[in-house]
């Protein structure tokens, strides 16, 4: 359960809203999209001061101890504002993974700096396939005395270009394990990838006998990775829900104020009915994201299937809403200057970041007993 009361959370989200309104305007999103870093360290500091970077980190390690419900609500605002930041990597993936492991010294060493925003961390798991599946891990770890050495290639690693710490999932002789790696370590080559979503930053990382520190885990490590992935999927669903509502609102407003043939175009059934269908998508998206968060926070047995449902329902809804939004705007949304395509790019990225909708539909059927 969350260490944050519902009342605190409301206040917290309100403060975040104001921060994002001030520091993540469309102009800022466009400016940061063009920078190599892809985020604003000052805004990162402000997010840290507010407590967003430490949201899901235990209070014992300087965080807020927020649960999935808090995370989902925060990400709704992040998604609506198209925030450019390494939140998903350093405030969600890395701390979620660390907290799912059993290495208290590593937690004590790393979590406080992640909570305070002083350090940025990310997680490297996927191979060239981009699949978040145990069998797709292609980095090999070999013991060198008490130390370890990693060799292989990680692909699609988010925000590695600004990371101070890498958590690398690799195949050890006794199975998958998590390793802490210094991005500046010898033998590590980082290649930035050009992303279609210009607010995102990704890299391929090549490991050639890179020395690494193995982190302790008292259960099969992939279970810890899955625990991390559950939180990441809920965060993504929240981002998709917030983005969906934002885009729908922007689109509906435009159709009220754009006049053609002497009428607001929103008065034409063709446009009106698209909006009505999108409202079902966007409300379903919000319901799915929040339900998954509640299930995970309350430890319900339904959590796994609720997370799968949110994974594909929210990805498909955000994609459909951003795509239809451009059609509803018409020519003006075909211009670079209009924000519609910024959301479309984010939606297309979110739809593949942690696996495809087809993948999660298949997992959903399995969870339904199929």
């Amino acid at each position: 359960m969350s260490a944050i009361t519902a009342e605190d959370l409301k206040v917290f989200v309100e403060q975040l809203k104001r921060l994002l309104a001030a520091r993540s305007s469309e102009a800022e999103v466009r400016r940061l999209s063009e920078t190599p870093e892809g985020y604003d360290p000052e805004v990162w500091k402000a997010l840290a001061d507010l407590g967003v970077t430490g949201l899901i980190i235990d209070e014992a390690h300087g965080g807020f101890g927020g649960d999935a419900v808090a995370l989902e609500l925060v990400m709704e605002e992040v998604g609506a504002a198209l925030l450019c930041s390494p939140l998903i990597s350093s405030a969600i993936l890395a701390p979620a993974l660390l907290q799912a492991l059993d290495d208290d010294t590593a937690k004590a060493r790393l979590l406080p700096d992640l909570a305070s925003g002083a350090k940025i961390a990310t997680v490297a798991i996927t191979g060239p396939s981009g699949g978040w599946i145990e069998g797709h891990v292609v980095i090999e770890a070999t013991a060198v005395g008490t130390d370890w050495s990693l060799t292989g290639k990680a692909a699609f690693v988010t925000h590695a270009h600004i990371a101070d710490v890498l958590l690398v999932v690799a195949n050890a002789p006794d199975g998958v394990a998590v390793f802490e790696v210094d991005p500046k370590a010898a033998g590590l080559t980082l290649t930035s990838l050009p992303t279609f979503d210009h607010t995102l930053r990704m890299s391929d990382i090549d490991f050639a006998k890179v020395s690494a520190r193995r982190l302790a885990c008292n259960r099969p490590t992939w279970q810890a990775v899955e625990a991390m992935l559950d939180l990441a999927l809920i965060a993504l669903a929240g981002e998709q829900a917030g983005g969906s509502r934002q885009v729908l609102e922007m689109t509906v407003d435009y159709t009220k104020n754009r006049f053609q043939f002497g009428r607001a175009i929103g008065s034409f059934q063709a446009v009106k009915h698209m909006a009505a269908d999108l409202l079902i998508d966007s409300e379903s998206c919000t319901s799915a994201a929040r339900h998954a968060a509640q299930c995970l926070a309350s430890g319900s047995d339904e959590a796994p299937s609720a997370i799968s449902l949110a994974a594909f329902a929210c990805a498909d809804a955000f994609s459909a809403i951003t795509a239809t939004s451009i059609q509803m705007h018409g020519g003006i949304a075909f211009t670079w200057a209009h924000p519609a395509h910024l959301y479309l790019r984010r939606a297309r990225a979110d739809a593949h970041l942690f696996g495809s909708s087809d993948f999660y539909r298949e997992r959903y059927v399995q969870q339904l007993g199929g």
Partner: protein
């Protein structure tokens, strides 16, 4: 009477004791909402004992209770499986009459409705007035102390057994369509009224056509002021929506159907198609539509409970339409050539085909999906209406049908 001052405990004790004395469960309650009530004698007792409409005033069979205390009574009745309580929330007919009937008519009809002594039906839609209900052409012409009614109504359930029909008819043809309609309780058991069953594409007849020729209705039976029937209709429709909910029926073959979120998984397994990856994707997607709609409704209820109005409520019917059509499509696909068949010896095919047809009950009945999208766009999203060509026209000049 001082029941208001009763404590919750005392009230609970009183109603429980009363039920113990009076309620003798018999054959399953068949209450179809239209037919005469199967427990009429008991219902009369319930009304006289003031359990039927506890929130209503004393002089109207009530106890002027808070809805909170009324709930206690309903709970007690529900626990005993006894009918008749909570009619102040659920009795469409009585609430409409209570709100709009003339004092004279109200005195006789309200108790009769509460006691289930009269059967009712709805005389709203016409062949020429479906989506555009305000385009009704059934006419009611004043003659002395009564009105003479002529016209045709359609999609009427229970018309054959009804004692009264809630009728909307045109009483002024020289004003715009909404402004010339009046609302009546039309006595159904008279020569001028002929009821014909209406056969649906599902080869059932749950509805009727009602042909009205010089039927008579007393002016006392008019609800609300002359030519204000549209307003009365709106409150009646609101009741209906809040009470009756989604009327779509499930499979009719009688064969057991798997329940719950894994129902489609089970049907796919039974059909031997669960190993088909294409089928698995569709099972997931259609199941998702159902679960998402449930989550939406739950969220809407929660928001309403917190006093926030929710946009989601109005989405349910449209969402349900897609669910019903998609589930029927998938059920048919699961059966392959098997879906060519129908009838009791082929229950899965019977169900898949029936559901494919009956899905239109929801996507057309009670406002087509297209009308629903207008409503959502305009009332929820605030999009402007289309130009209404007939808005300011005298109805006799409007083309319809």
């Amino acid at each position: 009477m001082t029941t208001q001052t009763l404590t919750d405990e005392a009230l609970k004790a009183e109603v429980t004791a009363w039920l113990a004395d009076h309620w003798k469960p018999k054959a399953q309650d068949q209450g179809a909402g239209f037919d005469l009530h199967p427990h009429r004698d008991f219902m009369a007792k319930v009304v006289e004992a003031r359990w039927a409409v506890p929130t209503w005033p004393i002089e109207w069979y009530g106890r002027a209770l808070s809805s909170a205390q009324a709930k206690i009574i309903e709970k007690a009745f529900a626990a005993a499986g006894a009918p008749g309580s909570g009619q102040d929330r659920s009795n469409l007919w009585a609430n409409t009459a209570m709100a709009h009937a003339t004092p004279a008519f109200k005195k006789t009809i309200v108790p009769a409705l509460l006691k289930g002594e009269v059967a009712m039906c709805l005389l709203y839609s016409e062949p020429g007035a479906g989506s555009d209900l305000a385009a009704i052409r059934t006419r009611a012409d004043r003659k002395d102390d009564h009105y003479v009614v002529n016209g045709q109504k359609v999609w009427t359930s229970g018309a054959a057994v009804a004692d009264y029909g809630m009728l909307v008819a045109r009483t002024d043809w020289d004003v715009p369509k909404h402004k010339g309609i009046s609302f009546f309780f039309l006595p159904m058991k008279q020569p001028g009224i002929q009821v014909r069953p209406l056969r649906q594409i599902t080869n059932e007849a749950h509805f009727n056509e009602v042909f009205i020729t010089d039927a008579i209705v007393s002016a006392d039976n008019m609800l609300g002021p002359l030519n204000n029937g549209w307003g009365v209709l709106q409150t009646a429709l609101a009741y209906e929506r809040s009470v009756m909910g989604d009327a779509a029926r499930g499979p009719r073959s009688g064969q057991d159907n798997p329940k719950g979120d894994s129902a489609l998984v089970e049907l796919a397994r039974e059909a031997g198609r669960l190993n088909d990856p294409v089928i698995r994707q569709e099972v997931a997607q259609v199941t998702a539509y159902k679960v998402l709609n449930r989550l939406n409704n739950a969220r809407a209820k929660a928001e309403l409970a917190q006093g926030n109005s929710s946009p989601i409520m109005s989405l349910g019917k449209l969402a349900m339409s897609r669910i019903l059509h998609e589930e029927a499509r998938l059920r048919s696909k699961l059966l392959g050539a098997g879906s060519l068949l129908e009838g009791p010896n082929h229950p899965r095919a019977e169900d898949a085909n029936f559901l494919s047809l009956n899905a239109y009950f929801t996507s057309i009945g009670g406002g087509t999906d297209q009308i629903q999208r207008n409503i959502i766009g305009e009332r929820v999203l605030g999009l402007p209406k289309e130009p209404e060509v007939d808005r300011d026209m005298a109805f006799r000049d409007v083309r319809s049908g």
